[in-house]
């Protein structure tokens, strides 16, 4: 473990604006088990992590997915989970690759080991406060378009796009 510690502390000044600072992600002193998980990732994965602007909240999200899945696996008396289908809103900042990474790590020695995560992205839908029409828009259009139905400027409320949902699983 020690060689890692040395190198990880050496990147502590990297300033990243999407997520947290890298160094503590890799901290050994943190009492919460999940942080140690990151430390134990393969060296290659660590390099990738650093390049990838630090994806951090994938970790608690993945822990939560696993615990829900294991609960369902037990309830349905399955021996192995093969795949899990998630529904994630377009507005949710979650990287598929990282969720799978963490999942592979966390699920070792459980009934969900090796399960493949399929992620369905749920589009952003807004409702116009003037005409009540619901419209699907892209993330980029949010905050910059008028209602396509009635032309009203910026009177939307968000009806969909923030989901973090487990839809189903395939299991044996």
């Amino acid at each position: 473990m020690f060689p890692y510690k040395a190198r990880l502390y050496s990147i502590q000044n990297v300033r990243i604006n999407t997520c947290a600072e890298p160094k503590l992600f890799l901290s050994f002193t943190n009492p919460v088990l999940s942080y140690n998980v990151a430390v134990k990732l393969e060296k290659k994965a660590l390099h990738k992590t650093i390049e990838k602007n630090y994806k951090m909240h994938e970790l608690p999200v993945t822990e939560s997915i696993l615990s829900i899945i294991l609960k369902h696996a037990e309830k349905n008396r399955v021996s192995r989970v093969v795949s899990i289908t998630l529904q994630i809103g377009e507005l949710s900042d979650l990287e598929d690759e990282w969720v799978q990474h963490y999942f592979d790590y966390l699920s070792k020695d459980t009934a969900a080991a090796g399960a493949r995560l399929k992620i369905e992205r749920i589009p952003v839908m807004v409702k116009c406060g003037n005409c009540g029409e619901t419209t699907e828009i892209s993330k980029e259009e949010l905050g910059s378009i008028n209602c396509p139905q009635c032309g009203t400027e910026g009177d939307f409320s968000l009806v969909s796009g923030r989901q973090y949902y487990i839809k189903e699983m395939e299991a044996i």
Partner: protein
């Protein structure tokens, strides 16, 4: 060979946190403790705004602060110098606070005896928007040097906040920040959002922000 079967799961991944946040909010209502979750990019001015806000309100309300600094106690020390109770959460590099962390901080300070507690969230516009902290109101700070196009880049944060503080307006002259364009973008994302322009440095607009807090606390209790 066993065959693969499909099972419906239909569960919200963040339901544990959402439930914890809901319970925390119930408790805050019972205790009459108003909690504000303060979010922004690093350096937008959370701590400076807090210091100014505290000096404006500390004679009227019993105030506490929870600091989520990544790794230092710098911000908590600054707050303590004002004579206000500040609890430092060890977030261990977490990119956001969740409801159970906030609860730990509130329990640690005995929040039931406070009227108002500020939570300085981790400096980051992405992750804190995803996790409900259990706070009564969410407030975000956008500082002038960051630019007026942030609503397009971080829409979720803008949809989740009740108040937007535009900070560092003393620097307006130095930038091409377009307040009108910003406000337009903001109302498109969240028409219920209150926008207040301030300078935590000169104190400009802090009175309006303090008034917002006064009336929100009054409505709450």
């Amino acid at each position: 060979m066993d065959e693969i079967k499909l099972f419906e799961v239909k569960e919200d991944i963040l339901s544990d946190n959402d439930e914890a946040a809901r319970q925390l909010r119930d408790k805050l209502h019972r205790d009459k403790t108003f909690v504000i979750n303060l979010m922004s990019s690093p350096g937008a001015g959370k701590t400076t705004v807090l210091l100014k806000t505290i000096s404006e309100l500390k004679d009227e309300l019993k105030i506490g602060v929870i600091e989520a600094d990544i790794d230092s106690v710098v911000d908590a020390e600054k707050i303590r110098n004002t004579g206000i109770r500040a609890v430092q959460l060890r977030t261990g590099g977490f990119c956001h606070l969740d409801a159970s962390m906030v609860k730990t901080g509130l329990d640690g300070m005995g929040s039931e005896s406070f009227d108002l507690v500020f939570v300085e969230n981790v400096g980051n516009l992405v992750c804190p928007a995803e996790f409900d902290t259990g706070a009564i109101k969410n407030v975000m700070i956008l500082s002038v040097p960051e630019g007026d196009d942030k609503p397009m880049k971080y829409p979720l944060m803008f949809t989740k906040s009740d108040v937007l503080l535009i900070n560092k307006i003393d620097m307006m002259e130095l930038t091409d920040f377009d307040t009108k364009a910003l406000k337009q973008r903001v109302t498109q994302l969240n028409r219920d959002m209150t926008v207040i322009e301030i300078s935590a440095k000169t104190g400009l607009g802090i009175d309006k922000w303090a008034d917002w807090i006064r009336s929100a606390v009054r409505d709450f209790t």
